[in-house]
């Protein structure tokens, strides 16, 4: 009986979680008539594919998707390298000003993005990079969250691992590359997911930094559908579904990496 109740509760929770997805997917496969039909039509049969056709062949959606993937991947790749290197330096190396840099980074974490928006735009404008890919790629690289995360991950690694490598003549970069990076792989994966999804969903900065149509990213482009195409819930739902695809693929592809070999066995227990 207890098992049945547990399962019922779980099923209910699953339904609540899945309902919005079902609703969006169902709406994306309805024409205008079915969308506003009363009593409501749960699933239109046969499904209406017009929304997807219009989105893919009669809007800038493919371009927005490419732009988004390009920007999000580039930022993710660059940030993983920069953050892990900076995290290693802050965690394991001794240099003048280390504490000051770390405190500055923590301080920056506390500043809301809205407060940075105008100065950031001003800097980008003065650098003449607004309305370029650089405007979308460079500013997110300065987000200190990744450095902080990597520092904490690397700080947890025992010093003897580096010392053992140092005795064998491994260079500082070699220690970072051969010893530290493989050991913080789960941390890198977490960071990659955070950065990629953050970039994928980033709206305000791309909206401010770019005005050219060929530079629009998904979030800005999809929001623009309302302005250009009038009220079309089916089209918007199709855009929402299509926007979810890459991020879902990315997430599931990396999920296996969360289970990467842990620190077990490195040290005596």
């Amino acid at each position: 009986m207890e098992r049945v109740l547990t399962h019922l509760a779980l099923i209910l929770a699953a339904v609540i979680c899945a309902a919005p997805f079902f609703y969006v997917i169902a709406a994306s496969l309805k024409d205008q008539g079915s969308l506003f039909h009363y009593p409501p039509v749960w699933v239109q049969i046969p499904p209406y594919t017009g929304n997807y056709e219009r989105l893919l062949f009669d809007s800038g959606f493919p371009r927005w998707m490419l732009n988004t993937l390009f920007v999000a991947s580039t930022v993710t790749g660059l940030k993983l390298v920069l953050d892990s290197m900076a995290g290693y330096a802050l965690a394991k190396l001794e240099f003048t000003g280390k504490r000051v840099i770390f405190v500055l980074m923590l301080t920056l974490l506390m500043v809301p993005f809205a407060a940075l928006l105008i100065p950031l735009w001003s800097i980008a404008h003065n650098l003449h990079i607004t309305n370029t890919y650089l405007a979308l790629i460079l500013p997110p690289l300065a987000n200190p969250l990744g450095v902080f995360l990597m520092r904490q991950f690397i700080l947890g690694l025992p010093k003897d691992l580096e010392n053992a490598a140092r005795l064998e003549g491994v260079s500082e970069f070699g220690i970072y590359w051969r010893i530290i990076l493989p050991l913080v792989k789960p941390g890198l994966v977490v960071l990659a997911v955070i950065i990629f999804t953050d970039q994928f969903m980033s709206f305000i900065w791309p909206l401010v930094a770019t005005t050219r149509d060929d530079l629009l990213v998904l979030t800005v482009g999809v929001a623009g559908l309302r302005a250009k195409g009038g009220v079309n819930f089916g089209l918007w739902s199709a855009a929402a579904v299509m926007s979810l695809v890459p991020i879902a693929v990315f997430f599931f592809a990396l999920q296996r990496q969360f289970l990467a070999r842990s620190m077990a066995g490195a040290l005596k227990q």
């Binding site: 003897d160 053992a164 140092r166 005795l167 842990s262 005596k268 227990q269």
Partner: protein, 377 residues
Amino acid sequence: MSVSLPHPDGAVDAFAIELLGVTKRYGDFVALQGIDLDIAPGEFVVLLGPSGCGKSTLLKIIAGLEDASEGEVYINGQLANYLRPKERDVAMVFQNYALYPHMTVETNIGFPLAMRRHTKAAVAERVREVAALVGLTDHLRKYPDQLSGGQRQRVALGRAIIREPVAFLMDEPLSNLDALLRVQMRSELLKLHKRVGRTTIYVTHDQIEAMTMADRIVVLRDGVMQQVGTPREVYSRPANTFTAIFVGSPPMNLIPGRLLTADGGQRFQGPISVDLAALGPMAGVGEEITLGVRPENVELSGSGDAATIPGRVELIESVGADTYLSIAVAEGTTVMVRVSADTSVQEGDCLHLRFPPQRLLLFDPAGNRVTLPGEPA
């Protein structure tokens, strides 16, 4: 840039490792104070001392992982102070093994050679040889987390011995193994040392490990070297009361008192009185002195005479082959006596203790052992 200078005396290869006045300070805290030590090639030297005495720091200074604040380190006759760890040609076994968890046993053991750009075939062959030496041939494809504590320890050893360095530096490698495995690994380490024949500096706080493994023991306390000697010397002629207590289990009995003249000789007068006439005349009559005697050197006698000290058995601890008796000989003074397990004694029994003069040690007020008449200084 690394600089390697020859020894000022021109001595090359006389010592595998030589330390001259090595001092290490962290701010105002002195971790090591003027350490002078020569270690011959092939010697097994144990650095022994309580936690925080500076023994691991000394090992790291030799390895080049820490810099000495003062003093010189010579490795193979070359000044090593300015050499990077790699250039010192020493291998280290860390307290927590420091195995790379993302590498197999094979890659872990072969890592030092791979980093020195040996060919893959050469590394693989040498890994096989070393794995056979440390008994890991069947585990080469496994990862460290698939191994037992003893096997991990062997991987760490294998990684150290694969490139035949000038010296092995071992930082409490057995400290976290369980008691049985520790005894087993201890003898395996010794066998390995005999086979490989390299200079080894071994850090431990376990005096049993030090006594059983060392050619020489270096006793450290608060960064200061207390004594250097063979296990026998350190045990039977401790330089001071610290070594006397730290080495030996149960520790040496130390009884404070004074040296007095008696009829035709001298005697120790404290909570108990011991005739020292047999030791010959000593300087320092009237001064405070501490009498030391190992538990196994106290003799029990059934009947009392003028030379025996009466006492009451307070506690009996049986440790298998031996039994330790805590015997109260005066108010607040207890003497630990080691007897064989078949000795029939009950708590509360009154016994008579005899302290054989030739087995006694005397320590001055500063705690240093007094050289007895006729004893080489």
